[in-house]
């Protein structure tokens, strides 16, 4: 089984973002970057599928400037066999442009399964996998919380309002991964050393036409600071009183 996982490098989100002077982008100074959360679940799920099958290999693909190589090497250190950078100076804010480049790379790769996170945690559009599925003419199961491959067929579970939806599909196929499927492993120190010796190929990204751009970004209005009233049962009466009289939510 040959699996490709498309991964994106995103800023870590537990910071207070600032907007760059252009007003059209986030100020990147001081940000730390990592693999997008859902993409991490997808890499882990892919590794588990090949480990369970006892055969096959996982490749990862990321589109962007050379800094994405760090994210690719993280996947290699988790156990992925090969990485591909689709090189471009900036990552456009347009899933069509990105999806076109990914589809060109994936088309003749001989992959049984192509995986995505259900969305990137920075852009949060969750559209790229749809573009790729359309361009390659493959079935797509979006936001899987469980995934199994057996006898050349796949089955997946999707969480829907108040229940689950079980689907089956033929291979090759595209799936996008929801949280809950598998917590990504942390790379072992030997894995980090081994990653340096694994193949990382760089090719120019054949981006599609960019038809969408960001005009302006704005921050939500600031929130007032919280406060700690106390701890344990002793704090409850004051908390209830404040919720009633000050916050007026009770």
């Amino acid at each position: 089984m040959k699996i490709a996982v498309c991964i994106k490098r995103v800023p870590e989100m537990d910071v207070t973002f600032k907007i760059a002077p252009t007003g059209k982008a986030v100020d990147e100074t001081g940000l730390k970057w990592d693999m997008s959360d859902f993409d991490g679940y997808a890499v882990e799920a892919a590794l588990q599928l090949t480990e369970k099958a006892g055969t096959g290999e996982v490749h990862v693909i990321s589109l962007g400037p050379d800094v994405v190589q760090e994210t690719l090497r993280k996947a290699l250190s988790m156990g992925v066999a090969k990485a591909v950078q689709l090189k471009c100076d900036t990552v456009p804010f347009d899933a069509y442009a990105i999806g076109t480049a990914l589809a060109a790379e994936l088309k003749d790769g001989g992959y049984d399964l192509i995986m995505f996170g259900k969305m990137s945690i920075d852009g949060a559009n969750g559209v790229t996998q749809f573009v790729v599925a359309e361009l390659l003419g493959l079935p797509l199961v979006h936001a899987c919380s469980k995934l199994e491959i057996a006898d050349g067929k796949g089955s997946a579970r999707r969480e829907i309002e108040g229940g689950g939806e079980l689907v089956s599909f033929a291979l090759p196929a595209i799936v996008s991964i929801d949280e809950g499927i598998a917590r990504p492993r942390y790379p072992s120190l030997k894995g980090i050393m081994a990653a340096k010796r694994k193949p990382l190929e760089v090719r120019p990204a054949q981006l599609g036409e960019v038809r969408l751009t960001i005009e302006t970004m704005e921050l939500p209005p600031p929130r007032a600071a919280g406060r700690i009233i106390g701890e344990g049962a002793a704090a409850v009466p004051e908390l209830v009183a404040l919720l009633q009289n000050e916050a007026k939510v009770l």
Partner: protein, 391 residues
């Protein structure tokens, strides 16, 4: 707030950051949730050993051909920093295993000894301890009385005892430093690989510790332990050999102390921003701001010292005296940071639920072992004056 106030991150390679991040996650997920209780119970969490081995932190800067990760010394230091951000006891376990047992086998052992022990120790299947200190010879190990006598057939008989031995009661193997053949000079000291299941070997836990409670500390006794000829570390000779091990471990401790200090600083900072007294967060009062500013400043200085020392070690040009400066300074500032953090936390600061007092108590051991603060002062004093205060 990011405690990396000087963006030291930018001076690390991608690989060094990746190593740190993996160990950081391990500590967040596996150590922090249990360590407070382990400390109260006086228990080293042995259940973490397989995961630590799997992650690759045991002997991580030794070569891959012996089953180790083959990392550089800055990565190794970052591992120690992250482990001690969890607890000094966890870092002590890894220091002893890697720098005090695997390192001497690697540096002074025969090829057979290396092949026999290093891969198993990297996998955590064999746990090691390091016996240098004796009850009457702490700062002055050259006075040790433990003696190994070579027999006509080349085997050895070991008699004596060691005190304050980390991992002692859980170890499968000990590296024991002993004088040889009745010679009372320190030049006769040699290292021996002593499996702990040998007849005449006993380990007894030290009871009543108020520091490093999540770590095993033991007294070892050797009563006519009969060792094979292959037990001696062939390239060991004189006090210099154990001191070389201590230099390795002290280097890691200089990083580890930063981890403990960061844990305390972060706890204090978060508390200062949230604890309201006199109708505002205590972090808004100047006294607490001075406290936090002092902590931050000392942490940044310590980080720069250890990072540069690590670069020197990787370049092969560092000196034991530089390691003394780093161990002495960093453990001292960490001890102060921990105490100030504990004070900032008020009454909550004395609880095991918070980390600062645990770190504060732990760091008293770290201040004392691997050369006390005073002993490192004398080493530095000798380095700058050329005058030896020891003799």
């Amino acid at each position: 707030m990011n405690p990396d106030f000087f963006n030291i991150e930018s001076a690390l390679s991608e690989e060094e950051r990746a190593v740190r991040d993996s160990v950081r996650r391990f500590v967040d997920e596996r150590v922090l949730p249990i360590i407070g209780q382990c400390y109260v119970d006086g228990r080293f969490p042995r259940e973490l050993i397989p995961a630590m081995a799997e992650l690759g932190v045991l002997g991580a800067n030794l070569p891959e051909e012996y089953g180790c990760a083959g990392l550089n010394n800055v990565s190794y230091g970052l591992i120690m920093q992250e482990l001690e951000r969890g607890d000094s006891g966890i870092r002590s376990f890894a220091s002893v295993q890697g720098a005090l047992v695997m390192y001497p086998i690697y540096a002074f052992g025969s090829e057979e000894q290396k092949r026999e022990w290093l891969p198993r120790m990297a996998k955590g299947e064999a746990i090691g301890c390091f016996g240098l200190t004796e009850s009457d010879f702490g700062s002055n190990p050259s006075g040790m009385v433990t003696m190994a006598m070579e027999q006509p057939d080349g085997t050895w008989i070991l008699n004596g005892g060691k005190m304050w031995i980390t991992n002692g009661s859980q170890a499968h193997v000990s590296v024991v430093w002993a004088k040889t053949n009745g010679d009372k000079e320190a030049s006769s000291i040699r290292g021996f690989i002593v499996p702990t299941n040998m007849a005449g070997f006993k380990a007894k836990d030290v009871k009543g510790k108020l520091s490093l409670r999540a770590s095993d500390t033991s007294e070892l006794t050797f009563d006519n332990v009969h060792l094979p000829a292959t037990a001696v570390l062939p390239k060991s000779g004189g006090l210099k050999s154990p001191l070389m091990c201590l230099t390795q471990a002290r280097y890691g401790i200089s990083w580890g102390a930063i981890g403990a200090a960061i844990a305390c600083f972060e706890e204090a900072l978060s508390y200062a921003r949230n604890r309201v007294m006199f109708d505002r967060p205590i972090g808004g009062f100047q006294i607490q701001q001075v406290r936090l500013a002092d902590m931050l400043t000392e942490i940044v200085k310590a980080q720069l010292v250890s990072l540069h020392l690590g670069r020197l070690k990787d370049a092969g040009t560092f000196t034991p005296q530089q390691v003394s400066l780093a161990k002495r300074n960093n453990v001292d500032i960490a001890t102060n940071v921990a105490r100030e953090a504990r004070r900032l936390l008020g009454g909550n600061g004395i609880l095991a639920e918070y980390a600062s007092m645990r770190h504060m108590a732990n760091l008293e051991s770290v201040y004392t072992y691997e050369g006390t603060h005073d002993v490192h002062s004398l080493i530095l004093g000798q380095a700058v004056t050329g005058l030896n205060a020891f003799s």
